[in-house]
C-alpha cells in the first residue's frame, strides 16, 4: 500500500525530475565503484522512464541510450558509424556558393566568429633558437616559375579557350605552386617535409545545429533537429601527423558575436536531400597523417570577379572567399576532431587548428580557423560559451602586367604575332603570401609585420582595372623581381 502511494506520488512529478532521479540512480552504482562495498546496494531496480511509451521522457531515455552507445563505442569508426547511420533529410551546404551574404549564414550554422586579419603571433620562447631567415626571394622565384610555366612557357596542344582557362591553366599552376613551396619551406618546418599532399580528395562533414518545428507531413508539429552536410573538394591539402598548436586558448572569449539569422536556412537558398552521411578528412581513420595543415581552394568560373561585378555584386566578392573558407575549414577541422573521437556530446578538449588559402587564379586570400567546440546541437549548446574562430584577410593580388612590345594596344587582344614573343613582364609583384600559411611550424608562427602593413596598403576590389587581363599592379612599392630581356 505504501509502495503504491509512493508510486502514484512519483508519477505526478514532471518527467524531468523522474529522469534525473533515474539518472542519479543509474549512475550511482557506476560512479561509486570503489565505494560500493561501503554504500548499501539498492534493493530495487532504479525507477526510469519507459523506453517505448509515447512521451517526452521516453524519447529522452531513448536518446540517452543512443548517446550511451556512442560513448561506449570502442573504435572511432564504430562511433562515426553510429552517429551517421540514420539518414534523414538534411541541408547541403556548398562552400563555393553564389548566395548573397552566405558568410553570415555559414557563421551561424557553424557557430563561428569571423575576425579580419591574421591571428596574433605566439609569444616567442626564450629557450628555442631563432629560426633561419625566410628566403623570400627563392620563394618568389619559385612562384614566378610556376606561374610563367603554366601561362607562357608550356606549349599545349591547342590554344586553351577562355571557358577552360581555369581548369587547364590555373589548376596545374596551383598544384605546382603548392608542391614547390612545400618543398622549399620544409627546411624550416620538418613536419612539412613528412607531410602528405592530397590533390582533389573529398572532405565531408555532417553535423546537427538548431531545431525547427516540422511544418508538414506525418510528423507535423514536432521538434526536429536541423542537419547539415558539407561535401567539399579542396584543390590541394596538406596533412601532417602532429597537430598544429592553437592560436588562442580553448576558452578564449571573443567579444564579437556569432550572427543570428532569423529565417530558416531555406531562405539562403539551401536545399534538403537525404543521402549518405559521411565524415571524411581526405583519408580514412587509419592514416597516421590525420591532422590538417593547409587547404587550397580554387574558385570556379561561376564566382569569378568579373561576373560578380557585372551582376552588381561587388560587395559579394569578399563574401565568396569568406564563405568558402568558413565552410571548408569548419568541415575539415570538425572531421579531424571526429576522427579523434570527439562529437557533440563529447566536446573537444583541445582546439583543432587549420589554415586555408582561397584563390581564383589571380587573387589570393588567407584564412586560419580554430575549432573550439563541436557541441552545436540544441541540447549540447545550451551552456556552451565557446565559439569557433576564423581569421581571414582581404583578397590580395599578385599582379603582372603583360605588355605587347610592339604596340601598347589592349593586351587582352592577343594577336597571333604577339603570342610567340616573350611578354615583357615588367615586374612580377609576388606577395609573400606563403609567409602566413606555410610558416606555421611547431613553434614559430608569426605573420610578419610587413605582411600586415602590405595588407592595409593594398586593399582592393574596387581598383581592378578591367582593361588588363591580369588585374592591377598594386599601388606603391612594386618589388622588381624579374626584368626579363626584351625579345627583338
Amino acid at each position: 500500500m505504501a509502495a503504491a502511494r509512493c508510486w502514484r506520488l512519483v508519477l505526478r512529478v514532471p518527467g524531468l525530475s523522474l529522469h534525473t532521479a533515474a539518472g542519479a540512480a543509474v549512475t550511482a552504482p557506476e560512479v561509486t565503484g570503489p565505494d560500493v562495498a561501503a554504500a548499501p546496494v539498492a534493493r530495487y531496480p532504479p525507477l526510469v522512464a519507459s523506453l517505448t511509451a509515447d512521451s517526452k521522457a521516453a524519447r529522452q531515455r531513448r536518446v540517452e541510450r543512443w548517446q550511451a552507445t556512442v560513448h561506449a563505442a570502442k573504435s572511432v569508426d564504430e562511433k562515426l558509424r553510429i552517429l551517421t547511420k540514420m539518414q534523414f533529410m538534411k541541408y547541403i551546404v556548398y562552400p563555393q556558393t553564389f548566395a548573397l551574404n552566405a558568410d553570415r549564414w555559414y557563421q551561424s550554422f557553424t557557430k563561428t566568429v569571423f575576425l579580419s586579419g591574421l591571428p596574433p603571433p605566439p609569444p616567442a620562447k626564450p629557450d628555442t633558437e631563432p629560426a633561419p631567415a625566410l628566403d623570400v626571394a627563392a620563394l618568389r622565384a619559385a612562384a614566378c616559375d610556376c606561374l610563367l610555366q603554366e601561362h607562357f612557357f608550356l606549349r599545349r596542344k591547342k590554344r586553351v579557350p577562355l571557358y577552360l582557362e581555369r581548369e587547364a591553366i590555373a589548376s596545374p599552376f596551383l598544384d605546382q605552386l603548392v608542391a614547390s613551396l612545400t618543398g622549399l619551406l620544409s627546411a624550416r618546418n620538418p613536419a612539412l617535409a613528412a607531410a602528405a599532399l592530397d590533390c582533389k580528395r573529398p572532405v565531408h562533414f555532417y553535423w546537427l545545429r538548431g531545431e525547427e518545428i516540422i511544418p508538414r507531413g506525418h510528423r507535423k508539429g514536432r521538434v526536429d533537429a536541423l542537419r547539415y552536410q558539407i561535401n567539399d573538394k579542396p584543390h590541394n591539402q596538406i596533412r601532417i601527423s602532429k597537430q598544429l598548436p592553437e592560436f588562442v586558448p580553448l576558452d578564449y572569449s571573443v567579444p564579437v558575436e556569432v550572427p543570428v539569422m532569423n529565417c530558416k536556412p531555406d531562405k539562403l537558398p539551401l536545399f534538403k536531400r537525404q543521402y549518405e552521411n559521411t565524415i571524411f578528412i581526405g583519408t580514412k581513420t587509419a592514416d597516421p597523417h590525420c591532422y590538417g595543415h593547409t587547404q587550397f581552394h580554387l574558385l570556379p568560373d561561376k564566382l569569378k570577379r568579373e561576373r560578380l561585378l557585372k551582376q552588381n555584386c561587388a560587395n559579394q566578392i569578399e563574401v565568396v572567399f569568406r564563405a568558402n573558407a568558413i565552410a571548408s575549414l569548419f568541415a575539415w577541422t570538425g572531421a579531424q576532431a571526429m576522427y579523434q573521437g570527439f562529437w557533440s556530446e563529447a566536446d573537444v578538449t583541445r582546439p583543432f587548428v587549420s589554415q586555408g588559402v582561397i584563390t581564383d587564379g589571380k587573387y589570393f586570400s588567407f584564412f586560419c580557423y580554430q575549432l573550439n567546440t563541436l557541441a552545436l546541437t540544441a541540447q549540447a549548446d545550451q551552456n556552451n560559451p565557446r565559439k569557433n574562430i576564423c581569421w581571414g584577410t582581404q583578397t590580395t593580388i599578385y599582379a603582372m602586367k603583360w605588355m605587347d612590345k610592339r604596340s601598347n594596344k589592349n593586351p587582352r587582344v592577343r594577336s597571333k604575332s604577339s603570342e610567340n614573343e616573350m611578354p615583357d613582364v615588367e615586374y612580377c609583384h609576388v606577395r609573400n603570401k606563403v609567409n602566413s600559411s606555410k610558416k606555421n611550424t611547431g613553434n614559430q608562427f608569426c605573420p610578419s609585420p610587413a605582411l600586415q602593413s602590405l595588407h592595409e596598403r593594398t586593399s582592393l576590389g574596387h581598383d581592378v582595372d578591367e582593361r588588363y587581363t591580369y588585374g592591377l599592379e598594386s599601388a606603391n612599392d612594386g618589388i622588381l623581381l624579374k626584368n626579363l630581356p626584351l625579345q627583338a
Binding site: L154, A179, L184, L197, D198, C199, D287, M422, L484
Partner: protein
C-alpha cells in the same frame, strides 16, 4: 513492312535492290524520309509568268509585302558567308598546308608496338642493357640516401593509395595509380633537406612533344604528351663512359623480319617536321629529367601490357632526348660529345618499370655506327597483392586485415 528502319532493312537482305519483285519496303524508312509532322512544307511553284520567255515579271519584291496581282519574286539562294563550327567539314587532306607526299609514321601515347621493346630499340637505334646502371643503383643503395622509417613510410603510402584515400571500400585504379605515384614523389622530395638540388626541379604536364627523325628511308615522329614530366635546371650527367659508347659500334640491332618496323605506328601525310620540346625558349628548367607514364585505366584491355609500356617509355624518353640534343647542338646528324640522359618511370599502380636512356648520336639513318644506350629495369613489384577487405571464410577472418 513500311515500318522497317534502316538497320532492320539490312536484315531483309535488300530484296528491293534486285529490281522487280520487291517486297514493297521503301528504300528509306520513315525516320530517314522525315516524319510528316516535321517535314518542311514544299515551296509553292513559281508563277506561270516566269515560263514566258523574254518577259520580265513585275514582282512585289520592292514593295516588301504581298500584293495580289503581282508575281511572286524568286530570289537567288542566300549564301550566309560562314558555316557554324558544327557543320563545318574539314578540307580534304591534299589541301592541308602541312600535307606532304612522303608518309610519316607517328608514335603517340596510345600506340602499341607489336614487337614491343625490340621494335622500339630498332626505331631508336639503341642497345638494351638489363638492369639499371651502377651509378643509379649505388645512389639507391647508399645508406645516407635512405629515408628514415623508409619501409613504414612506403607501407603507409601503399595503404593510403589502395585503401585510405577515398570513401569507397575499394578505390579504383584510375584514382589510386596517380595517388601512389604522387605520394612516392612526395616521399622522395622529403629529402630536400639533404639534397637541396631537389628544389631545382619542376613538374609539368600536357606539354606537346614533337620530334622527327629518319630511320633508313622511313620518317618517324614522336608526337604528343606523355603525362607528367620532371624538368630540371641542370642536365643529368652521362652514365656510360666514352669507351662503352664506342663499344656499341659493334652491336647489331635486332631485326624482326617479316614484321615491318613501322607496324603499330600511325601513318599520316599531314605532319610538321619541326622539333618542339613542349616548352618555349627561355624556360628556366630546360633539361628533361624524368617522365612518368601511368597506365591507370580501370579495365585491363585498356591498359598497356608491360612490354608495350616499356616500348612507349623508350620512345618518349628518346623523343625528349633528341629534341633536347637538337636544341643544344643543332640539327646536324652527328655523334654527341656530351650525351643527353633522360630517365623514365612507368607503372600501373603495382608494377613499376624504370628506364635510363642515354642519347649518344643523332645519326639515326644508318644502322651502323655508335648506338644509343638504354638501361631497363622491368617488372618491379611494389607489393605482391593488396586485399582491401579482410577475407572471411565460414565467419572467421582468414585473410589479412
Amino acid at each position: 513492312m513500311a515500318l522497317a528502319s534502316g538497320s532492320a532493312r539490312l536484315a531483309l537482305a535488300r530484296p528491293g535492290r534486285l529490281g522487280l519483285g520487291s517486297c514493297g519496303a521503301p528504300r528509306r524508312g520513315a525516320y530517314e524520309w522525315g516524319v510528316r509532322s516535321t517535314r518542311k512544307p514544299e515551296p509553292p511553284p513559281p508563277d506561270r509568268v516566269y515560263e514566258i520567255p523574254g518577259l520580265e515579271p513585275i514582282t512585289y519584291a520592292g514593295k516588301m509585302h504581298f500584293m495580289p496581282g503581282l508575281a511572286r519574286p524568286v530570289f537567288p539562294p542566300w549564301d550566309p558567308g560562314w558555316t557554324p563550327p558544327k557543320f563545318r567539314r574539314l578540307p580534304p587532306l591534299h589541301e592541308h598546308p602541312l600535307y606532304k607526299d612522303q608518309a610519316c609514321y607517328v608514335f603517340h601515347q596510345r600506340c602499341r608496338l607489336l614487337e614491343g621493346v625490340k621494335q622500339a630499340l630498332w626505331l631508336t637505334k639503341t642497345k638494351l642493357i638489363e638492369g639499371l646502371p651502377e651509378k643509379v643503383l649505388s645512389l639507391a643503395d647508399d645508406p645516407r640516401n635512405h629515408i628514415e622509417n623508409q619501409d613504414e613510410c612506403v607501407l603507409n603510402v601503399i595503404f593510403h593509395a589502395r585503401l585510405w584515400h577515398s570513401t569507397e571500400d575499394i578505390p579504383k585504379r584510375e584514382t589510386y595509380c596517380p595517388v601512389i605515384v604522387d605520394s612516392l614523389i612526395q616521399l622522395c622530395k622529403s629529402q630536400i633537406l639533404k639534397h637541396p638540388s631537389l628544389a631545382r626541379r619542376i613538374c609539368a604536364q600536357n606539354n606537346m612533344l614533337s620530334t622527327t627523325w629518319n630511320r633508313g628511308s622511313t620518317l618517324i615522329q614522336v608526337h604528343g604528351s606523355s603525362g607528367a614530366q620532371l624538368n630540371a635546371k641542370d642536365p643529368l650527367p652521362p652514365i656510360a663512359s666514352r669507351e662503352e659508347v664506342e663499344a656499341t659500334k659493334n652491336h647489331v640491332l635486332e631485326t624482326f623480319y617479316p614484321i615491318s618496323p613501322t607496324v603499330g605506328l600511325q601513318e599520316c601525310n599531314v605532319y610538321d617536321v619541326n622539333d618542339d620540346t613542349g616548352f618555349r625558349e627561355g624556360y628556366p628548367y630546360p633539361y628533361p629529367h624524368t617522365l612518368y607514364l601511368l597506365e591507370s585505366a580501370n579495365l585491363r584491355p585498356h591498359r598497356f601490357q608491360p612490354d608495350q609500356l616499356r616500348a612507349k617509355m623508350i620512345l618518349f624518353a628518346f623523343g625528349n632526348a633528341l629534341a633536347q640534343a637538337r636544341l643544344l647542338y643543332g640539327n646536324d646528324t652527328k655523334v654527341l660529345e656530351q650525351p643527353v640522359v633522360v630517365q623514365s618511370v612507368g607503372t600501373d599502380g603495382r608494377v613499376f618499370q624504370f628506364l635510363v636512356l642515354q642519347l649518344n648520336t643523332t645519326d639515326l639513318a644508318s644502322d651502323e655506327g655508335v648506338k644509343n644506350l638504354v638501361w631497363l629495369d622491368s617488372d618491379q613489384l611494389l607489393y605482391a597483392h593488396f586485399w582491401c577487405l579482410p577475407v572471411v571464410r565460414r565467419k572467421a577472418v582468414v585473410g589479412p586485415l
